[in-house]
């Protein structure tokens, strides 16, 4: 095809991950356009709390991506500062029983070998860090690398900083391909955008976009509710959650069960999140979910019992069967790159994802091995795209 190109890369999705892809691709010298059927941060990004967590990740590819992202977030914070409400408040994971504490300490020791800063906190020091924490906890671990951004602002500001042309309210209806099957752009309800590369940062709808290109990517939604309280003077200083390791009798693996994350924000409200339910795209209020959040939060901070929740909202985390995102080129469709399926960690993992995508777009070696994130890893037969 000799059609004139619109740009070098079309990023589909104006959420946090799309914004990071656009920023790093633009900084790699590429001409980028971002297209989204809704507004900026209209999907999972706008429904999240903005957790940048390393504390909840076990050693492995996701933790490596989180650590890379944490470093990049520090740099972005220097650039964009308060505009994205970046707050390096640190995380505090607490355990209510000696058994849970022992398991938490083991978990933290393994994380330390992978490069995480994880500082044991004795029971009698917990209240120095969190004066309003419930009494009687066995101890905890402090994670200074955990941080926070306001996700919608972060996406909007990164998009702005990228200089990419933004097309919101424009739905991608097809992926244009050459006779040989390579990507040559996208078709939208308001005209075509021609580019040799398309990045799928469509979040929960990433599977649908992949299907438009003829590739299978089994992204599914997982609902979560977040509770937001009335604004308060700062009483919760860290991201605080409880970790209990429940021995799974059927196997010798231990399942980590966490309470909701409770955290104060610069703006005043305490955020409590989030539930995890597989119910499709059902946005209707679930009082059982909200009850569980409230009870979990009060268990950590008893003063919250009398604090009022102003709102609750649902979001849909995009997840893949093995709970790792799809990042990198799709060998089944040359020119198609995936950056989706980050489940509940997309805000935190976005800069690393964007950087890896930008490197591969520019033909450079990425900082991390992309093998665990291969988009075609769910194909049942070799090379098959069912």
């Amino acid at each position: 095809m000799t059609k004139r190109l619109t740009c070098d890369v079309v990023v589909v999705g104006a959420g946090m991950v799309g914004a990071a892809c656009a920023l790093y691709a633009a900084r790699a010298g590429l001409d980028v356009r971002v297209v989204d059927r809704g507004p900026v941060a209209g999907g999972t990004t706008g429904a999240g709390e903005g957790n940048l967590l390393v504390s909840d990740k076990e050693p492995g590819p996701e933790l490596e991506l989180a650590l890379l992202s944490a470093r990049l977030w520090t740099g972005l914070a220097e650039e964009l500062g308060p505009a994205i409400e970046y707050e390096p408040k640190g995380g505090l994971v607490v355990a209510s029983t000696p058994g849970a504490l022992a398991a938490l300490r083991d978990f933290a020791a393994a994380q330390r070998t992978a490069g995480v800063t994880a500082q044991p906190v004795e029971a009698d020091r917990l209240r120095d860090l969190e004066p309003h924490l419930a009494p009687g906890m066995a101890g905890g671990v402090r994670y200074p690398q955990d941080a926070q951004v306001m996700p919608a602002l972060a996406a909007a500001q990164l998009l702005r900083a990228s200089g990419a042309v933004l097309h919101t309210g424009r739905t991608v209806t097809g992926v244009l391909r050459t006779a040989r099957g390579a990507v040559r752009g996208v078709r939208t309800d308001r005209g075509d955008l021609h580019a040799p590369a398309v990045v799928n940062a469509a979040g929960t709808w990433g599977g649908d976009l992949a299907a438009l290109a003829g590739a299978r990517l089994p992204v599914l939604p997982r609902r979560g509710f977040v509770l937001v309280t009335e604004p308060l003077p700062r009483r919760v200083r860290h991201k605080v959650y409880a970790a209990d390791y429940v021995a799974d009798v059927a196997s010798d693996s231990a399942a980590l069960r966490t309470s909701p994350v409770v955290e104060g924000t610069a703006a005043g409200p305490v955020l409590i999140g989030a539930t995890r339910e597989r119910v499709g795209f059902d946005r209707s209020l679930s009082l059982p979910a909200v009850r569980a959040l409230a009870a979990g939060a009060i268990g950590l901070f008893p003063f919250l019992e009398r604090v009022r929740a102003l709102r609750t909202y649902a979001g849909f985390r995009p997840y893949l069967p093995d709970h790792l995102p799809a990042i990198g080129p799709d060998p089944r469709v040359p020119g198609l790159f995936h950056a989706c399926g980050h489940e509940g960690a997309g805000i935190g993992l976005a800069p690393g994802t964007g950087r890896l995508i930008a490197r591969t777009l520019a033909g450079e070696a990425p900082e991390l091995d992309l093998t665990p994130f291969r988009p075609e890893r769910f194909d049942t037969e070799k090379g098959g795209t069912p």
Partner: protein, 465 residues
């Protein structure tokens, strides 16, 4: 099931009262759940008994209708057919997945700290409306109140909000507010209405169908004249002044297109400004139940049923139209709910008179709506430094920036990127203003909690869902 079917009516204003009485008279057990200490809603708001008001009806019209409703409620309560729960602030109505019945979750008492759940076979939402507030410089000064707020103070507390008042904005509520203030002894320096008399004339056919309504308006106008209240049609308040509290307002004349006429403004001294721009329907409970809205109002069929089985709606929640319309809709809704709950199809011939008045009053309301729209240029007149969202202290400039600099194009994204509407009132106050400033359509707010709920109440919710 030998027990009588149970209907929960949320709201004890004209619509809720009419509905509760109609249903109770037809063999249904009714629980009437209302936030106020006494029945009546905003329209028939009563002074607290302790105030010993001698002539509360001086502040009301349609007193006879109220007496009929009040006596009916007393009778049905004595007969055990209606239970009236006062001081119950409903924060959520939940449709239980198992059997399709409902849980009406409320907070009890003035402190709203104790959770109560009423189980019912069906619900009827008569949640009323709230005032549309539009920002202008100085609107957050003490002394500036909403028109409905001033009325509530008069009716409920018998207190005068101030001594020298200006009543401003647009809509049929301004007349009774100005008349009520004057009758209670305030000096009303001016009634400032942005609509012009010509606009009323253009809608003459629909309005002429309501001679009673026009006479009501004429009655207020006469009372205003008697009190020497100056009415400034096609004028608007462009700014409120004062440092500690309100001391004066600037009133400007508008041209035919609703723009401020240059050089035609004056300063009026006052310590109270009652400002209103009409009403919007309260739809939070309906939205959370999954009821479809049409525009900003709950959509209902000819029987006042929403599209969620077992949920009826009546009154301002289904479209703002005043107490008369609310009574008609409530009556129809109550009869329909009673019949359906007893497993029969209602006969609309039974409520033919109410249906006729509903049709007529809806046409009247639509005509008024067209006349009393905020003047088109109001949003451009709001300077960037004016606070728009007072809960979160977000200015007009920040709201505009969310659109111009960050690419927001709908109210939700404007909220996410500017914090306008994230605070205590959840945008109930500022959403119309933000919509006007940004050009985003005013969409329903998606507020699962109709009011703030203590986390302890949430954590103690019954498990039986």
């Amino acid at each position: 099931m030998t027990e009588r079917p149970h209907l929960a009516v949320v709201g004890a204003g004209p619509a809720g009262l009419a509905a509760a009485l109609a249903a109770a008279a037809r063999g249904v057990r009714v629980t009437l759940v209302d936030a106020a200490g006494q029945a009546g809603g905003q329209f028939y708001r009563q002074p607290a008994a302790a105030l010993g008001a001698r002539r509360p009806k001086a502040l009301h019209h349609q007193w006879r209708t109220w007496e009929r409703l009040r006596d009916g409620l007393d009778r049905q309560r004595s007969a055990g057919r209606i239970e009236h729960l006062t001081d119950h602030h409903v924060w959520c109505v939940e449709r239980l997945t198992g059997d399709g019945t409902f849980g009406v979750h409320a907070l009890r008492g003035p402190a709203q700290e104790e959770g109560v759940t009423v189980r019912a076979d069906a619900v009827l939402l008569a949640t009323g409306g709230y005032e549309r507030v539009l920002p202008f410089p100085g609107w957050t000064l003490p002394g500036v109140v909403t028109a409905g707020g001033a009325q509530a103070m008069l009716k409920g507390g018998l207190v005068l909000p101030g001594r020298t008042a200006v009543v401003a904005g647009t809509g049929p509520l301004l007349l009774p507010v100005a008349a009520g203030l004057a009758a209670a002894g305030a000096r009303v320096a001016a009634l400032v209405e942005s609509a012009g008399p010509a606009a009323l004339l253009r809608r003459a056919p629909a309005l002429a169908g309501q001679p009673g309504k026009l006479a009501e308006g004429a009655g207020y106008a006469t009372r205003l004249l008697r009190h020497g209240v100056r009415t400034l049609a096609r004028h608007t308040v462009v700014a409120a002044h004062g440092t500690e509290r309100l001391t004066a307002v600037t009133v400007a004349a508008l041209d035919g297109a609703g723009r401020v006429r240059p050089g035609a403004s004056r300063r009026v001294r006052c310590d109270t400004l009652a400002v209103g721009h009409g009403m919007l329907p309260h739809t939070d409970l309906a939205e959370t139940l999954g009821c479809t809205l049409s525009g900003t109002a709950v959509r209902v069929d000819a029987e006042q049923r929403t599209d969620v089985p077992g949920v009826w709606a009546a009154g301002e929640a289904t479209g703002v139209g005043g107490a008369g319309l609310a009574l008609a809709e409530g009556h129809i809704a109550g009869r329909s709910a009673a019949a359906r709950l007893r497993g029969t199809a209602p006969d609309p011939r039974g409520w033919a008179a109410a249906a006729r008045s509903r049709t007529r009053l809806r046409e009247f309301a639509a005509a008024l709506d067209a006349v009393y729209a905020p003047p088109p240029g109001w949003a451009e007149r709001v300077p960037d430094d004016t606070v728009v969202c007072r809960c979160e202290e977000v200015t007009a400039g920040e709201v505009r920036g969310a659109v111009d600099r960050l690419g927001a194009a709908d109210l939700r994204t404007v909220k996410l990127l500017s914090r306008a509407g994230m605070g205590w009132c959840q945008g109930r106050m500022c959403a119309p203003g933000v919509a006007g400033l940004t050009g985003c359509p005013l969409t329903a707010g998606r507020r699962p909690f109709a009011r703030p709920v203590p986390l302890g109440v949430l954590a103690a919710l019954p498990e039986s869902d």
